[in-house]
Amino acid sequence: MTEHYEEIVARVRETLVEAGSTFREDKKEAYRQAIAAEQNEKARWVLEQVLANAQAAETNRSPLCDDTGIPHLVLEVGEDCAVTGKMLDAIKEGVAEGLRKLPGRPMGILGDDSRRIDQSGGLDPDPAGVEPAPILLRRCKENVIRLHILMFGGGPAIRAKTYRVFHKHSAQVVLDEIVQWATEGVAQLGCSPCTLAIGVGRSHFEAASMMLQAQADGRYDVQSEMEREITRRVNEAKIGPLGLGGSTSVIATFMKVGPQRASGVRIVCVRPACCFEPRIATVELGE
């Protein structure tokens, strides 16, 4: 177990570094297409800078952004696979080692409940003081244990919104609300173009977890009709990269709709993920 434990720690460490420093290939291609299509000179300059930054970060295995983010973990478990407490310990240790190696920004807050809220307890100088969010566990078809690591920055968290929508028995009503929230959020977010991450569920917890899974599963080259409509309509606002105008406010939309209840209400979570998000990498930890 010790050897396997160390192997998991090492794999998680390197995966976290990859998540914080690398654009996936479909994202690079989405940026290249956006640069080619963008007519606004300043918008194109920003897109080129973001893509060049991604290439530099990947080469150096250094942070894409100085807000290196809060680790969010999605753990997938196959049919015959067992997740043990020891494995969760190894994952946690791997995250800590990854944060030190990246390096993550040392932004964990020390102190009791009150001091952590008002930030009077001081900062933990150790990048590993940034604890991951609770792990989301789900089943996968393949007979493996697979971990997705996503790094969530602060800017999108400020502009994200989770709230109820009275759907009036029309999906279009919900889409209209999403477009309105997203347009407001993208306009306020400094670091666009965005990838819109959207979850629809029966509770705030479920909607937020759908939003997280949408980022784990989403691909820039595979877009549903609803995702394309949301992207197109937000881009019509001409907010542009960094809010400087142009037609590329949103690169793509990743949306996941969960089970719904018999009710006039849907709970919707919209996160305007910044130009670097989803910062994600995936690793298999064994069978």
Binding site: V50, A56, P63, D66, D67, P103
Partner: protein, 169 residues
């Protein structure tokens, strides 16, 4: 073609900058954000800003933390940051470097003190190669949010607000 700016920045240089200009900033610049800027303002109000050991006149303030992860702009329209722009401009800061749309009152205040606001892309990996020495100027207990002085070489930015106009209008 980018306009090259070197700190300390003169009144004449600011007068010649316009919204939409692409600039490259070099020299020593200050870095501060939510936690430290109110403390700097308090020192200015108390008449103790000279204790900082840096001359604010002609300076740049970059709205960023400084950490081993690098530097990158945080939103300049966060309450504690945007509210610092007018009084810091009055104290001599000539260029506020960050991201995001500012309110009309802040744009007007920049004009009143002949200062400008510039938007910098959040390109931490690229900025890393253009960042030299860094040191804490004040409030070291704030860690990455302390007031820092860093040496930069050709930081790219776009003038976002100048002479009463905003690029977001």
């Amino acid at each position: 073609m980018s306009i090259e700016i070197t700190t300390p920045i003169s009144e004449e240089t600011i007068e010649q900058l316009h919204v939409g200009d692409t600039v490259e900033i070099s020299g020593y610049i200050l870095c501060g954000r939510d936690a430290v800027l109110p403390k700097v303002l308090k020192m200015i109000e108390d008449g103790t800003a000279q204790d900082l050991g840096v001359d604010l006149r002609g300076q740049v303030i970059f709205h960023t933390a400084v950490s081993p992860a690098g530097v990158g702009p945080t939103s300049s329209n966060k309450l504690e940051i945007e509210s610092s722009i007018a009084p810091l401009s009055a104290a001599g800061i000539k260029l506020h470097l960050g991201k995001g749309q500012l309110h009309a009152e802040t744009v007007a205040a920049l004009d009143r003190y002949n200062a400008v606001y510039a938007v910098i892309p959040p390109v931490t990996a690229l900025l890393g190669a253009r960042t030299g020495e860094t040191r804490v100027v004040a409030f070291p207990e704030l860690g990455m949010e302390a007031l820092h002085l860093i040496k930069v070489d050709r930081y790219p930015a776009i003038i976002g607000a100048a002479h009463g106009r905003s690029i977001y209008d």
